[in-house]
Point group: none
Chain length 225, copies 2
DNA sequence: ATCAACACGTGATCC
DNA sequence: TGGATCACGTGTTGA
């Protein structure tokens, strides 16, 4: 890739053959389409991930990465618990175990391996260094305490507090609505800049909404702006 | 969005001020940096999600989205199991006690266990803005519509009742927000299909919407679908 | 006025 | 030859 031989492009006289014109019309067009496609995904991702208010691309990617790792961590943890529980009364749960091979593929990922047949692959996060105290296992931010979710049957009770911000209540309710919950009652008040609310809702459809998902969604709204 | 009439390209000779050169050198440089930052995240993401061999940006984003949803689904499921296990201390008799549960295959969407994930393939449209929810409710029970507005200084008190409809509360609050009112407190409940609410708000700006304007806006929300 | 983030059009490269 | 993807430099816009 040597560069720098480029001067002003030839914008010139429409005299030359229209072929060129046509072809790069298409070019510019498809590129535009590609861009908007990418941006669409970015928007989706940003709405899917606890990106605290930040919407720029790098932040979205960063938060996505972090969130992904956290989710995997939690899954691993939950599964180990589940296994421990399943394995009968074996009193001890295994402390920690690398369940799977940690294949690190990084960088120029040009593996010609796994073809397209069913995606049966799962990636591990990066290696956990041996030794070294890298466990920030409890990655809970302090705002966790602000949201309390109680679920009984189809009834969901949400109790939360957060510092007030304009439209925050509206956004909370939008979030709830998007979770397929029908709001049944609301009580909210502002005290000393702190918004407190209690919301009761019912599951709209058969879709299981919940628990942590709700909490995360709400925290996403609350968490910074 | 018309634009033109801007042809300000003074191609200055390097004579006058080097600052120009400097400044957009910086520009191109930082942009380059931004790009490589983004690409770095893309690489990481691509190594973190089960991307079936595809490494192009759109695919990475797509797979990330899909994977993220799957992880959340999975967590949800595991947590519900965990809750069930915790609460029900009764013997969880597993029909089979095959211990060979070592390997994990969380494959993509191949679980047939007690759950029917309604898979939505691709095609996630955007969200944003208000409005879009099309809920067909053709009932216009105007007899129950009742809106009372009280304005004192900057304080607006809204008391209204209407027949309940999905998202109606949300839309009411959106309408209020659009009227430049800051919602201070909300009380709402549903009784026998009738939604009653009391909302107190403060005028955001200096412009105070008149009571009739507010009332009309709210009534429009109530009887529109 | 500096900085950061973005979208755009364009040339290059790879099936 | 053509469609798709990328990196690049640039113009623009908000803080």
């Amino acid at each position: 890739m040597h560069e720098n031989c480029r001067l002003e492009s030839v914008k010139n006289n429409g005299n030359s053959k229209p072929e060129v014109e046509e072809v790069d019309r298409n070019h510019v067009l498809s590129e535009r389409k590609r861009r908007e496609k990418i941006n669409e995904r970015f928007t989706i991702l940003g709405s899917l991930v606890p990106s605290g208010g930040k919407v720029d691309k790098v932040s979205i990617l960063d938060h996505t990465i972090e969130y992904l790792r956290e989710l995997e961590r939690r899954i691993e943890e939950l599964e180990s618990h589940k296994e421990a529980a399943e394995l009968g009364s074996s009193t001890q749960s295994k402390p920690l175990d690398a369940i799977e091979r940690t294949s690190d593929n990084y960088g120029p990922s040009k593996n010609g391996s796994t073809k397209k047949p069913s995606i049966n692959k799962r990636k591990a996060s990066e290696m956990e260094k041996t030794g070294g105290e890298s466990t920030r296992s409890r990655l809970r931010d302090s705002s966790t305490d602000n949201v309390t979710i109680t679920i009984a049957d189809n009834d969901v009770s949400i109790e939360m507090r957060c510092s007030w911000r304009e439209c925050v209540l509206l956004e909370v309710m939008e979030a709830i609505s998007k979770l397929h919950l029908n709001t049944q009652s609301v009580q909210s008040s502002i005290d000393d800049g702190i918004l407190s609310m209690t919301i009761k809702a019912k599951c709209k459809g058969l879709k299981t909404a919940s628990a942590s998902v709700i909490r995360q969604a709400l925290q996403r709204v609350v968490r910074k702006s």
